[in-house]
Symmetry: D2
Subunit: 311 residues, 4 copies
């Protein structure tokens, strides 16, 4: 199946962190890479068959969720997460060769870049006006265009334009990480590895009091660990949310299958987003809660015996 | 299968309420009936193959559970409840022909009979000493033997011995009902009727805080109504209990099967006691909680589609 | 207050295990002891002011709950448990001096005594008919009266009647323990000791699905350990139960007070039965669950600050 | 207290929706209004005492939460929400007088404006390039400056610059509403109105499995309706979230006070953000869940009686 994936869309332009993340995937070597201007366009490329998969950012440990990605997964034709990529974010400060940091009048970056580096910028270039640019890659280009004096961007972007590196690692929170997801059209999920994530969107039935509590109970009662809960407005009216949930385990696990069926019964709607290997996890048993899947198999065998009158 | 059941043990002696209850079963007509002295002996007759089934009292709406029946089901070789019988309890006061109620010096009954009629007896035969007898049938026999003056017993017993009926319906709580169960060796349960009960014993894992809460949650999360919860000591040491649970539904229902599997996972042990028609229920939908079994079927079909990448 | 308690009713007759248990209480030395024929009469003596307190059996580790005690606490004027007494049960076999165990034709005991020794009796006196007597003390008296050949009873009863001890410790389960309670009219509960029990009866609102689950959740959410759950029919109609609950802690504990208020809100009715020292517990911290009462005090102080706008 | 509030910071520049929302507050008439460039700066103005209160956007029914507002409330010195303002969002298309919609080459707006109108823009000005501007007010100014041909912005901004209104209500989702909050330094909350919201941030203890479930249970067990659950990364590392919760009721309500204390016990930390009237609610009883606060008062009175031995 991987063999068939030869065209990868990603959130561009070239030179963004998303491109860096995409290049870490071995299967991408030699494949066609299609930079798209926005997340919705990257997802549309997959839905329209222009690309076989798209890599888009899902969340950042500092900035939080990426709303267009969540909205693009929750609505429209169903897409599937095939894998995730975690990438540390490194922001450097670049300017034209020969520039003096003390003389910078304007510094540009994507608003997230400005937000993540605001402490450093206030302290080290207090004299500079901060300018929003559509992407960190564009911020670097803008230095070449002469739109502003400096850019806060990924190393790949500064290097591409042969800019001078005035400072490295200027983010206030050095450990920032972005989680990207590789999205395809619906397909059977990749095989269980023993350290998997399952992602879904639960649309709560709002006329049921305690509906979210019911949803969480479906996981708790089966000993499944929820690793992420993210709310998004459903856009019908204020106060209506859907919930993006990630849990440990694979849809082929008995417990996860049962929990998904439970959600299907108590929710207005459930959208399965995929089961895929947890990035950065040691395979086998990482983060697995009790009871084990063996307990589920044992219970099923026992039920069959009892139903047949043989236990 | 009913055809094979030709020997019925029951809690005797002849003339007890249990005999009356057994005679209400159409399939008993013409079968051999074996009165047994105690509940454990009635159950042993089934286990040893001396009887094909045994009818024993399970609970009474005034006296509560019948401990030897609970203990006989929880321990020993597994037995199965094949059906239940509800019977209103009628206590009458019988004495030798010609006796005067004001002159009775002793009145006998089984302790439960004395307990259920104590208010009436105190008011109407305050002069009489109350005597415990091993069964209400024996109380009637004792009048014939001359052991005591009168008996509180079932009409069938008074009539069998041609005693005089001094008063009818002398129970303090006129609506008392006894629930009997017909017990066999393990076999596939009778077919679903749409208004069934499933009975089981849950042995709590005592080193898990909140274990009973977990057990109840397994039912609640699946919308299953629990109709009875009865604790019994496990006899290991004080403070250790097992729980007799009755719920709406049949083990062949998806929801009930799933809940039983859940119990199997969170309990130290679970003993399935049977699925059988609810006595006195109108068939179809009586007491069924939402979500319906159709919702469970729909959820299972959806899961299969999603696992296959087709949803 | 203890000074005022000078008349103790108990489940008689003299020579029962209850008398033995009562004599273990230091404050009883020199007090008047009133044997009552039944549990309801012992409780009535307290309600009517004939006795200041009554000692009655609540449960036995083999036989389970003592239904008349539960029913006597759940209905009628409210009574209060002031303390509990745990006593190992010892059954011996007594007969007239010179009797031969192999020649015994009849052996009597209270039905619980017969039940707890049935294995031993079947093996060691297989030839004897077993006879029910109203109490184990009466069984011993019956030997003197010549009603039967031998009695299974407490040592105190055999010795009182100068009977021959044919066998000791004949219970099938040597570790059997009976839990007795000392009951008074309502009064402020004894002071916290740090290892207390709180007892109550919860009358479930039967039109609320999952009502028992709600009750258990009131405890679980506050980290309170439930040590006993006993159901009893409410006698209105079959399938209606109230629940006797024991939990760790004292009504003066913030957590227990809050849980009781929660029960009061979700139940049809709640009857507080008392907070008293746990028998056999080492004082201080035994069986205490997290969070601690300090956490409750800290949370209350924080709430006060926040409400005042000072946090 | 309102008397003392004479300087209002808000998310500027002048001409934004926030200014429009601020002007709907009667108490603002005649007060000093301080436009701030970013949400963090508006909040800092309050913390530093430069302003008495700040109005900032909290969430939008289409775009979701406003992350800088959430982060500004969760971290730093504690602030308090004193009231909320709901405002329908109206986007119009403005250009220089005489402009032809078919000839527009560039259209600017804040990224949220572009996102909320993307369907309309694609259909009605497909030829135009979309340009991000730092605010909708700046988009209008940019038309005057000649930076781009047209702006998608609030009516107040178009009118202020005497631009031509080419189209009204161009948002794809006409019912979009923004929720603003008026934030002050900590103070006693405004009085109960009977239709209040309480807001808080819960920092989950991540080493406790099921911690979020515990948090939700604290509300459910007390019959409190949660109206909003919003997760945000805590920025320590990916996969760590805090939760912004809104519930029905006021911190002075017994039930809400108890739930907050419960959160305090089970969470690593809780930050109370305020109790304030629900905007758009009819006063009295709107959205109130059972049991009522009277039930809480009744339960407290009962507990006091029972503790005193008088019940």
């Amino acid at each position: 199946m991987s063999a068939a994936l030869t065209r990868y869309a990603y959130l561009g332009p070239a030179g963004t962190f998303t491109e860096q993340a995409l290049r870490t995937l071995p299967e991408v070597a030699g494949a066609e890479m299609l930079p798209m201007v926005t997340v919705p366009e990257a997802l549309r490329a997959v839905r329209d068959g222009i690309a076989d998969a798209a890599l888009v950012p899902l969340e950042n440990s500092v900035e939080g969720a990426v709303p267009p990605t969540l909205d693009g997964l929750a609505g429209g034709e169903r897409l599937m997460i095939k894998r995730e990529v975690l990438m540390p974010v490194t922001f450097n400060l670049y300017a034209a060769p020969g520039a003096d940091i003390a003389a910078l009048k304007t510094v540009a970056s994507h608003p997230h870049g400005l937000a993540q580096c605001q402490g450093w910028l206030r302290e080290n270039v207090p004299q500079a006006e901060l300018v929003s640019s559509p992407s960190t890659a564009d911020a670097a280009e803008g230095v070449v265009r002469g739109d502003w004096d400096a850019a806060v961007c990924a190393p790949v972007a500064g290097q591409r334009h042969h800019l001078a590196e005035l400072a490295v690692d200027v983010a206030d929170n050095a450990a920032a990480v972005t989680r990207f997801i590789l999205v395809t059209r619906p397909a059977p999920p990749p095989a269980r590895t023993g350290a998997d994530v399952t992602s879904m969107v639960a649309f709560i039935a709002h006329d049921r009091t305690g509906a979210l509590l019911e949803v969480l109970t479906e996981f708790a009662v089966r000993g499944i660990n929820l690793t992420r809960i993210e709310s998004r407005p459903t856009k019908e009216r204020i106060g209506r949310y859907c919930f993006f949930l990630d849990c440990d385990g694979h849809i082929e696990d008995a417990r996860v299958g049962e929990a998904l069926m439970g959600l299907r019964r108590v929710c207005a709607d459930v959208r399965f987003l995929g089961s895929y290997p947890r990035a950065g996890a040691d395979h086998e048993g990482d983060g697995r809660a009790e009871p084990s899947d063996d307990d589920f198999a044992d219970a099923a065998a026992w039920l069959a015996r009892v139903r047949a009158g043989n236990a």
